[in-house]
Symmetry: C2
Subunit: 327 residues, 2 copies
């Protein structure tokens, strides 16, 4: 264990705050608003087109902080490893964690490793917690009728990438997971004074969320329920790659319910919606951004989908469990 930490972990995350002996990372914190989040990652396969469990863990936690209006600063990293796991595989995951954290300039400051007996876990699970500095308070209560809904890119790529690469599936749609950190796309928007006018802490961007488990439909439903407002979405506006649509059809899975790992749903002031869209599209990660709908007073607490066929239907919450071990 000591060697694993010393040889594998410490060299990869060398920063003065990483605790080498103490049990907690003690980090400077000058601001009052602290964002704190956590997630476990149990995805399989561990490596997939577009990412791996390590990248996913870092990006997932960064994204949870970013959509909460916070600048990600510090991460914790806890690994649960099945005895006998190939060391080189573990090293690839750790390299990936290291790389992803450097890209977003977050520091992994504390961690833990547990090795469990063979059969007690499936290869590798990761838990990351994150701490960030709140730069803009986002609040569901600020959402009003007329606000626009933006999605920052094409949907369902993570979930369908994973599914199509599962053992026994033997399908190859060549779908790459969208697994990515959202900080470089969204932090500048949160800081932008033109789109988030004074009073500084209530602005053009009212709420953000990353539509992971349960996909876009679930996130929209959660917003509708929490605000008791209606959301009306136009199917034709939802960005989706053709191959993803085809894969969903073949597998009998609605892409609206499939996890994304590098996208955000934004609820924004209608007057600022075009400006925000323009800024998003200037960024490579946001080039397929779309305004997909808006907040209405009806149907209260529900999501209405205007389909490409010209019909309307209520977009329900997922009635069953979301697909297992997608993230």
């Amino acid at each position: 264990m000591h060697n694993l930490i010393k040889e594998l972990i410490l060299p990869k995350f060398s920063n003065p705050l990483l605790n080498k002996l103490g049990d907690s990372a003690v980090v400077e914190f000058k601001d009052r608003g602290l964002a704190f989040t956590c997630d476990s990652f149990v995805v399989y396969p561990l490596f997939f087109r577009g990412g791996d469990i390590g990248k996913l863990a870092v990006c997932g936690t960064i994204n949870d902080l970013v959509v909460s209006g916070a600048l990600p600063l510090y991460l914790s990293l806890a690994l649960i490893i099945e005895e006998g796991l190939d060391y080189s595989l573990l090293e690839r995951v750790v390299d990936s964690i290291s790389f992803a954290s450097k890209v977003s300039r977050v520091k992994i400051v504390t961690g833990d490793i547990k090795v469990v007996d063979k059969g007690a876990c499936d290869k590798l699970f990761i838990n990351t917690a994150g701490v960030g500095k709140v730069i803009r308070e986002l609040n569901l209560k600020d959402i009003k009728v007329g606000d626009r809904i933006i999605i920052t890119g094409r949907i369902a790529e993570h979930g369908l990438s994973i599914l199509s690469q599962r053992k026994g599936m033997d399908l190859d749609f060549d779908i790459k997971s969208d697994c990515a950190s959202l900080d470089s796309l969204l932090i500048p928007l949160l800081k932008d004074k033109a789109i988030n006018p004074a009073p500084a802490r209530r602005g053009g961007i009212k709420f953000m969320r990353d539509p992971t488990r349960g996909g876009l439909a679930t996130t929209l439903n959660e917003i509708a329920r929490a605000t008791n407002l209606g959301i009306v979405i136009e199917e034709a506006k939802i960005p989706i790659a053709n191959r993803v649509k085809a894969a969903g059809e073949l597998l009998g899975i609605d892409p609206l319910y499939i996890a994304n790992e590098g996208k955000a749903v934004l609820v924004v002031d209608s007057e600022k919606a075009q400006d925000i869209l323009k800024l998003l599209r200037q960024h490579p990660q946001g080039r397929f951004s779309q305004i997909i709908g808006e907040i209405r007073s009806e149907p209260k607490g529900m999501v209405l989908l205007k389909t490409t066929l010209g019909t309307e239907r209520i977009l329900d919450m997922l009635s069953s469990e979301p697909l297992p071990r997608i993230c």
Copy 2:
């Protein structure tokens, strides 16, 4: 999943900061010093004499913060659950988490649940991360020759409790785990101005650590190595219950290397050692506290044990892996 969170988790940890929809907990933080820690818990059996995996997870993370000189404030809670796990069992664990967090007045403000397929994990793993406010900066660099080593109670009770209750062991030494939060014992000491004289941030208590994995011997070795000073310990002073000693002998395991989950090792100024010992012993959790040794210039980076037989021997680092899944 939604029902599980709504019915099982939310009612148990009802506090205004617990995030119900947002991805991160946003918590007020007025002070500069932030402590942040994390741990996974994979112990089996899930329930043992003196505790369970839930209590262990909360106490373990609280203790990591406390021994870092921080007042524990916020915890995250992430559960990895094997599909089909008995709901009532899970509920007992969650109740235990809720109770332990209330006892120490920490708030669980963010969380995650993953359910994995049968066989992908052994019943239940828990990860807790914690955030605390640094109330006293403790630093290995302040440790000097002459400083005393205190242990706050009897050793090896957690590890030997778990081991003796393992399936197939069929042993009953009636050993109760010492699993407990250290905040009520140690926070008052950290705040005490008499034992931590001015300059306020460098005081009588110089360093603390909870000797969990690898036990007392491992913690002492880590301190010796990190400071490159010697530690001399008197075996006769180390508090240990007779039944624990007996169990260790029968199982062929040295209690010095066995995990504790409710004890701390303190390195303290020699002039304040008796005052600190007195304060510790006034608390029910600290009544068996002992000064067990001191810092010397030799043997550099090593721990010397003066045995009850009058001999001396170097107390090595554990050469093999610590016992698996003790915490």
